[in-house]
């Protein structure tokens, strides 16, 4: 009986986060270097948000079009490659309308809350061993907590708009996101049990000898499937897009938003897709680890040549593509079906799965040693 395993790669990749470098620079008394690191980190985050947003929106439009026998944007630039840029400029130049009866302060605040929750998660993701801004020892908890923060923006936006569509959309979003967060967290706890750590960098390192999705004997696979379904619901994408279902609610919670503020919600939605995909691969698919079969050999050597950051973005794109594939294939669920799926299907399976994972870990029922650096 052979298993897919990963060769020991820890020697090759030593994890150094940007925050560690900054702390080191402070300790050495080099204030300028520390400042450079901080500014570089902030700049990189901003650039990542912009690039990921533009690329994902273009990719979504193109992929959606080809799923539906269409061509998608073709006019602006080569194969419409500048279409997203043109649309972004249009959105920035549009009038920012605030409804007269809206709660103004909250109406203005909501998109920023939504956006902030997303950007704050980007800071803790391990993009590669040397490309991580800060590695929290409770990274998984932090991500769960902050992504729950995003629903605040949606609820606030829907409530303060003083519009029935927004209101209903926001209430649905609240019910949906909070429900599905339970399943996502249960799936995520399986990985925490196996890796014995909540730090994202250490979870990636623990998959040195095999990705959790198959190394955890089916428990990991079930957890991965539950996680993907739950996070698809959490980011309000079809088939779970009832909070903004166009055919029922105009545009749901962002009906009353226009211009820049609408684009904030829109961008947050797409960055969220990137974030949940990145979380899925970090927890289950080995993060930036290369794909290996067995130990040693030419194949593994060739895989090692690909830089970790490319592995990270490649795997993330694969999961993003999967989520887009879901969106353009499945019809939207009804509200009762949505709740049925969560409370009567995913939640019981998640609990049983977590229990099974606990038994496996407790009695050491798997042949692979767990490496905790």
């Amino acid at each position: 009986m052979t298993y897919l395993t990963l060769a020991a790669t820890q020697g090759a990749f030593k994890t150094v986060t940007v925050s560690e470098r900054t702390a080191q620079a402070f300790a050495d008394g080099s204030w300028i270097l520390a400042l450079v690191y901080i500014l570089a980190a902030v700049g990189a985050l901003g650039a990542l948000v912009t690039v990921v947003g533009l690329v994902l929106i273009y990719a979504e439009r193109k992929i959606a079009a080809h799923f539906q026998c269409r061509l998608g944007p073709m006019r602006v630039g080569w194969h419409g490659i500048l279409q997203t840029v043109a649309d972004a400029i249009k959105l920035l130049l549009k009038e920012d309308v605030i409804p007269e009866r809206a709660d103004k302060a909250m109406h203005l605040l909501a998109p920023f809350l939504s956006m902030m929750a997303t950007v704050m998660i980007l800071g803790v993701l391990p993009y590669s061993p040397i490309l991580q801004i800060v590695d929290l020892n409770i990274g998984v908890l932090y991500v769960t907590a902050i992504s729950g923060f995003g629903v605040m923006g949606i609820l606030l936006g829907g409530w303060s708009s003083n519009n029935k569509w927004s209101m209903v959309g926001a209430m649905r979003a609240g019910a949906q996101i909070i429900s599905y967060e339970i399943s996502a967290t249960l799936a995520l706890l399986v990985v925490v049990l196996f890796s014995g750590s909540m730090s994202l960098a250490e979870i990636v390192q623990s998959q040195d000898a095999g990705w959790w999705v198959w190394r955890a004997h089916g428990v990991g696979l079930v957890a991965f499937i539950i996680f993907v379904i739950a996070v698809t619901a959490e980011i309000n994408r079809t088939p779970f897009d009832i909070p903004e279902g166009e055919s029922e609610l105009a545009a749901g919670f962002h009906t009353e938003y226009s211009g820049l503020r609408f684009s904030f919600f829109f961008l947050a939605e797409f960055i969220n897709m990137f974030v949940v995909s990145a979380m899925a691969i970090t927890l289950f698919l080995g993060g930036w680890m290369p794909f290996h079969i067995g130990t040693g050999g030419a194949f593994n050597g060739a895989m090692d040549l690909i830089p970790p950051v490319l592995w990270f973005f490649g795997k993330t794109s694969a999961v993003v593509f999967l989520i887009m594939w879901f969106r353009w294939t499945f019809p939207r669920l009804r509200v009762d079906q949505l709740m049925y799926l969560e409370w009567k299907v995913l939640l019981p399976i998640g609990f049983v799965n977590l229990f099974a994972a606990a038994v496996v870990v407790l009695y050491n029922l798997y042949p692979f040693p767990i490496i905790v650096p």
Partner: protein, 234 residues
Amino acid sequence: MGRVDFSDVKHETRAFAGVTVPVSVVPRFKRQTYPTRFLFSLKSLIDGMRLTFGYLVRPSKVVTRQYPENRATLKFPERYRASLKFKFDENGYQHCNGCGSCERACPNGSIILNTRKGEITGRNEIERYIWRMDSCVLCNACVEACAFGALEMSHEFENAVYDRRLLVYTLNRYAGPTANVLLKEENLEARAAMMTKLDTYGGPVPMNGHALPTVRALGSPRDEAKPDGKGAAS
């Protein structure tokens, strides 16, 4: 949730009140068990994903046309309908004898048919066939109503004009008898004598609801427009 299995339908005869009738016995609606339902729905989801992925990886399935660029090589679906046309044979003769079925079939009066008594043949023949594209909905009822195959829906869709009046077309190229009648006459000059040449915009045209000779404005009484323009104010 459940499914009726139509492969198990039984055909038999039964007696009802002394009459024997053939009946089809459909099996009872069976409720599926939970695992069956689960697997069935999972299978349907995977089927759907396979279908959409098939579209994604086969660019030949794309139906979008890049219109202005591919103007020279445009291909139309067989039943595409863009504008009404007369069918002409190889000599340029029409098949319309002015029976008026298309005019009666037209749901909103977009076809106005004027006929005349042929001076040479002495038979009823078409004088002017007016098609109002501005009110036509391209429903194809006229083509289906025509018993002589004189009409067709063509693929010419670039019909934009700067004046509404230019949307009123005369479809026949000549006033005169059908191809059958013309071909019986061997002498070409005699044939030509039976025909009066017309052009597309030769007839009178309406504008902003004003009735004009032979063309009735939409909503105006039917008597207003009569052949040869005598009935209408000019």
